[in-house]
Symmetry: C2
Subunit: 310 residues, 2 copies
């Protein structure tokens, strides 16, 4: 079993992802020492009482001696955070993040990142609908993809830094992928950003139905609605930033979604059962591929009741 | 413990719901005898090999001696099925269904239902994304709502028939609610029908993205997309019939959804972070209510990784 990849990692932002990295790095011995900082004094206190690692009182103290710095703040806060810690970044340190939008994250970090720092944006495709330091758990990244979007121009020291960061995430149980930032943002627009926008929207629509009480919506949510509310429970600040910072890809994907939805609406209005059936049948193919690719357990989602395990 | 409510129930349609009722009625002793019929010879053979109950070769044989007949066919097939079995319906028998649209189901059954038969439409708010006789399991209805939409004019024998049918579903573990058919259809349009339409639609949109390969969609589906594909794996025939038969309520709800989505789209285009945050924050309230009402386990849906049970 390989030894720790880093001597000391500094995690900025002790939310779901930051606290999970802290717990995982210790449990899987991916770093000798874990230091966390959060700009909220309350969150720092909670992180301390949760024993997530050493909690620093200043950004300078957090950065001091770190060979890897991981920004776990909302995409909209990556720029200001990088600017604030820039004075404490030594040459040779790895600076990465976990933001859901990679072009903007890269841009925000590059703007303030000193010479000699290895800037390697990243994004773990893992999470839950929970937020805050209490939500973290060490196994969050097991078998999840972790996408790294390194800079285009790469010399040998940079490449070996990318390798070290990849090894770190692999020790947390993740499967690492290298991808170009713009491509990441297009792929995630459809696999993650649009689904969250749709989920938030349908919950708002339900909330505003005068003809149906909220009590009834809650009571009969097992019909499918409930699964959307789970996604829509995700952190509003994080998601606001995702949509504001991946605007083009999200608007393009959303435009296609709305066109397709209008076609289904028309099919319903004109009793076009063939179109409805054809579209619904098509959807099963992708679901089958996801289950076969091991990207989902094949458990039902509807209610507490699951078929007995064979 | 009370004895069986019915001497002999006849289940028409051995799909997920029909086969689950058969297994549950036996396991929880809600009926002395369970008989199934399916118009597909193949399904009848599978139902027999699964030992779901006695499988009849004709509708007449299935109805003979039954004191409760449960139609478990798609909403669009309820009318023709009622018409086909009408000659075999004795006075005093209970005729119910499990269709997701109650006004249309009531209308279709009334059109062919003989005098003296107790017609009591019903709908279990339970299911999985699986279809067919193999998908059934006895605990499907435990703690799930079962909505009955009895006829408006009710005499004493009819009311006691409703009570017996309610007791039957309660023995299967369901919580029975009495509701007016039109109201049921409005409530389910938002809690079930629209969510399924949206899920089918986003999967189609993803399928058609030229800029993103299906392989990538599958690979990175843990970001949220996957949860939609699970819902979109539901039976296409059943859902086509739902949308064609609850047209007005679905189109009304869908219209509101599209308006709300256009507002979010505009907020993204104009960098209106306040509107996005406000809408996303609102969504959490309903999620909280659903968890507190015990309508969902509070497990994360994202990937195989769940926080360790406290």
């Amino acid at each position: 079993m390989p030894g720790p990849v880093f001597d000391r990692i500094a995690i900025f932002g002790a939310g779901l992802i930051g606290s999970s990295i802290a717990l995982a790095a210790r449990e899987y011995r991916a770093a000798k020492k874990v230091v966390l900082f959060d700009k909220s004094e309350d969150v720092r206190a909670r992180a301390r009482s949760l024993n997530l690692g050493e909690v620093a009182e200043t950004m300078e103290a957090a950065c001091s001696g770190a060979d890897c710095i991981i920004l776990c703040v909302p995409v909209g806060a990556i720029g200001e955070t990088t600017e604030a810690i820039a004075p404490y970044l030594q040459a040779g340190v790895i600076l990465t993040d976990v933001g859901s939008v990679k072009e903007k994250a890269l841009e925000s970090m590059s703007a303030h990142c000193p010479e000699g720092v290895f800037l390697i944006p990243g994004h773990p495709i893992a999470g839950t609908e929970k937020s805050g330091p209490e939500a973290g758990f060490a196994s969050l990244f097991r078998n999840a993809w972790h996408i790294l979007t390194p800079l285009p121009q790469q010399d040998e020291p940079y490449n070996s830094a990318v390798d070290r960061l990849a090894s770190f995430w692999e020790m947390l149980g993740a499967k690492v992928e290298i991808m170009e930032a713009a491509r990441h943002d297009r792929v995630l627009a459809i696999t993650s950003h649009l689904p969250h926008l749709i989920a938030y929207n349908i919950v708002s629509t339900a909330h505003d139905m005068e003809s149906v009480g909220e009590g009834e919506v809650v009571k009969y949510s097992a019909g499918g609605f409930r699964d959307f509310t789970r996604i829509a429970a995700s952190d509003p600040t994080m998601w606001r930033d995702v949509f504001l910072n991946n605007k083009e890809a999200v608007l393009e994907t959303l435009g296609r979604f709305s066109e397709d939805l209008a076609a289904l609406q028309r099919a319903i209005r004109w009793d076009d059962g063939e179109t409805l059936f054809r579209e619904f049948e098509r959807a099963r193919g992708i679901r089958k591929a996801i289950v076969e690719a091991g990207q989902d357990t094949d458990e039902t989602n509807f209610g507490r009741n699951r078929p007995p395990k064979k």
